[in-house]
């Protein structure tokens, strides 16, 4: 497909007011809520091994989320952020990428990272901010990142990763290595100026980027209806001269196929694509809010029926690729692994205090050395006040 140019403006003597919902984008779905396939639907080319890897990752993430949410409630970690109900969106999309493609997350895409191979131990080390954490214990729980897995470190400010994805993809295009960048964000973050900046620049520069919006209905407590007046996020692509796909985010097969096509367009035709995955944040925003304060049990129940993991499991069972018993056993072994890793990571100390000054610059500037020495002298003076580090400051 050659690059599509914007059409020439027609001149007319008739006053035309374009209605607000001129662009009406359907939602792509392969699996119905009950796990059966739409009649005549063309399924993606997906084999048993891949399907089971996707399913196992879903199970693992569900368990990790459940267990770590509880661990926060027990006071063992400071914060947690669950992806309950949105596992298909992150795992289905990550599975459609090549390993060399860069993933930039917002913060609710632990599924994509697990799919890439982040181990349960690595998850725990980050969550407990211990000295084995790749991020050296510097960021709140769930701010994962791993260069070896091409997964950019998460930052809390919303939407900042969107123009960065445009820039990263520009570099990929220049290098000619046929890779792309997929960037996740929520429908709330799409209100940030960085969304506009990033999509516009990506379209102008024709970069191989996939903008993956998880429309989960809520930004903390603010429902999508109070976030925007338009029909979601996907129609905005038209304004930027960009391609768009709206997909059922709870249908992992549809997400996989949509992302595969987006990747093909991005890499082979250097055209960015906006994907809007429709889903529902079944958990609260984080451990710091209680959804009963802003939505009804009825609403939650309706979405429970569209739940992505059960839906996928039904399809896998119908394929004859797994049994419900085997799925249950697999879940139990994930649970064992999660609990064992949790107990182990909890015992690992926080990083040595010397790490407080590393990585501000490539090498610490002189004032940082001075400040570290002053700090260590102070810790030696009051060791009881700084129990996490004082034993190792001699």
């Amino acid at each position: 497909m050659a690059k599509e140019k914007a059409p020439k403006t027609q001149v007319t003597s008739e006053l035309t007011v374009i209605p607000p919902h001129a662009v009406n984008i359907p939602m792509f779905q392969l699996l119905k809520d009950d796990g059966t396939v739409h009649k005549g639907a063309k399924l993606p080319d997906i084999d048993k091994e891949l399907a089971l890897k996707m399913f196992s990752t879903m199970q693992f993430i569900r368990l990790l989320d459940e267990r770590m949410f509880a661990a926060q409630r027990q006071g063992r970690i400071s914060f947690y952020l669950s992806s309950l109900g949105e596992e298909a969106a992150s795992i289905g999309s990550a599975a459609a990428l090549k390993f060399e493609d860069m993933i930039m997350g917002q913060y609710r895409e632990q599924g994509a990272l697990a799919y890439r191979g982040f181990t349960v131990k690595q998850f725990m080390n980050q969550l407990f901010s211990n000295e084995q954490d790749l991020g050296k214990g510097r960021q709140m729980p769930v701010h994962y990142g791993c260069a070896a897995l091409n997964f950019m470190t998460i930052s809390s400010p919303l939407g900042t990763q969107i123009p960065q994805a445009a820039g990263y993809a520009y570099g990929q295009k220049q290098s000619g290595d046929k890779t792309c960048t997929l960037v996740y964000f929520g429908e709330g973050a799409a209100s940030e100026g960085d969304f506009h900046a990033g999509l516009n620049m990506a379209a102008v520069f024709e970069v191989p980027a996939i903008f993956f919006c998880r429309n989960n209905g809520y930004a903390i407590s603010t429902p999508a209806s109070e976030q925007f007046a338009g029909d979601g996020i996907a129609p905005r692509a038209t304004g930027y001269g960009m391609r768009a796909i709206r997909v059922d985010g709870n249908d992992i097969l549809a997400v996989y196929q949509a992302t595969q096509e987006a990747r093909r367009l991005a890499v082979e035709e250097n055209t960015p694509v906006l994907i809007e995955a429709m889903s529902y944040r079944m958990a609260g925003h984080s451990t710091s809010d209680d959804p009963t304060g802003y939505r009804t049990k009825d609403e939650e129940a309706q979405w429970r029926d569209k739940e992505p993991m059960v839906r996928f499991q039904k399809w896998l069972v119908a394929q004859g690729w797994i049994t419900d018993e085997a799925a249950e056993q697999q879940m139990a072994s994930h649970k064992e692994a999660v609990l064992a890793a949790l107990k182990e990571a909890e015992k690992v100390p926080v990083p040595h205090v010397d790490e407080i000054i590393s990585d501000v610059y490539d090498t610490p500037i002189p004032i940082l050395h001075e400040q570290l020495e002053t700090l260590k002298a102070h810790i030696r003076n009051y060791p009881d006040a700084y129990p996490a580090t004082s034993e190792r400051v001699k």
């Binding site: 930052s155 123009p163 570099g171 501000v360």
Partner: protein
């Protein structure tokens, strides 16, 4: 050596950097074929192609966000913000992203290849929004390096260091001197150290500290003081972050007096940091309080620019206050 004004020196530095390493790219508003509103990027698109020297949409937060991503990917972007006064839409990208990229990831990722160029400062009848000196906002952010050259020779050497430094650098160009300052500049590559001040003139009675375009103001003030028989040592900080407190302290321990001359509004300007550090390090050597000549604590005015400005006369008066305390 060739005679170059400050803009030509910047252009020459970019040219040398782009020729040396094809990962260096230059972009911003009107930076492409037009060569930038000040012509700092003139001829670069013709020479290195549209992929390496290009216009961006008019969106500062996007320019820096894009540049952060490109630097994280391993490129060496030199992003231009057309005026320092318009850098604020990108404040979040610079302060929360650029500056923290390496630290927050435990060095898994970094944007060390990034250089942000922007013209700063007044004296061009630019009013509120073409005159500001925003260096102090950024100096308060660990993780950034901040460089301000005073003349064409310094500009080229410092910019080449900034582009190839493994840390993100904010490079503030004194636009008042773009065409006004002319000097001998080598046509080939050379570098000047970041984080190192330079003693521009030795003296024994009082130390004058400044940076960027203010060095020229200081030199005019010093000429007046010298007529009074005063011997002045002039120190150009060159880098605001990290800044070279050792060189300033050494000078103040010799002269016993310090005057800081700065363009930015008085309160919380970078001179406040210099004053606080030097009184801590040189308390027993100081023969009078540290004096500051600064802009007023008002928005940068138009009709009253002369009155607002911390010019050579206000700097000269500050020298006298220091000597006659």
């Amino acid at each position: 050596m060739a005679k170059m004004n400050l803009l030509q020196a910047i252009n020459s530095a970019l040219d040398v950097a782009m020729a040396k390493n094809d990962k260096v790219s230059v972009f911003g508003e009107d930076v492409g074929h037009f060569g930038g509103v000040f012509r700092a990027t003139s001829g670069l698109q013709e020479k290195y192609g549209r992929a390496r020297c290009f216009n961006t949409p008019l969106v500062e937060q996007g320019i820096i966000g894009f540049a952060n991503g490109l630097a994280a990917q391993g490129s060496l972007p030199v992003a231009e913000i057309q005026f320092g006064d318009y850098i604020f839409p990108a404040f979040d990208q610079i302060v929360n992203e650029t500056a923290k990229f390496r630290y927050r990831s435990g060095n898994e990722f970094n944007v060390g290849g990034l250089t942000i160029r922007t013209p700063y400062g007044g004296g061009i009848h630019g009013g509120h929004y073409h005159s500001q000196s925003p260096e102090a906002y950024f100096a308060h952010t660990p993780g950034l390096k901040i460089v301000v050259p005073r003349n064409p020779y310094q500009a080229k050497g410092l910019l080449l260091s900034a582009i190839f430094d493994p840390n993100p650098v904010l490079f503030l160009e004194p636009k008042r001197l773009y065409r006004a300052a002319v000097g001998e500049v080598p046509e080939e590559e050379y570098t000047l150290p970041l984080g190192k001040a330079e003693v521009v003139q030795e003296g024994s009675d009082v130390t004058l500290v400044g940076w960027g375009a203010q060095i020229e103001v200081i030199e005019r003030a010093v000429a007046l003081a010298e007529k009074d028989g005063v011997s002045v040592e002039i120190v150009d900080l060159r880098s605001i972050q990290p800044w070279d407190a050792d060189t300033v302290a050494e000078s103040v321990m010799k002269t016993g007096r310090l005057v800081i001359s700065q363009e930015a509004p008085h309160t919380m300007a970078f001179g406040s940091e210099v004053a606080a550090t030097i009184q801590e390090r040189c308390f027993l050597y100081l023969e009078s309080p540290i004096m500051r000549a600064s802009g007023l604590d008002t928005p940068y005015p138009l009709a009253h620019e002369k009155e607002y400005f911390s010019d050579h006369l206000k700097t000269y008066e500050a020298i006298k206050r220091s000597l006659n305390y």
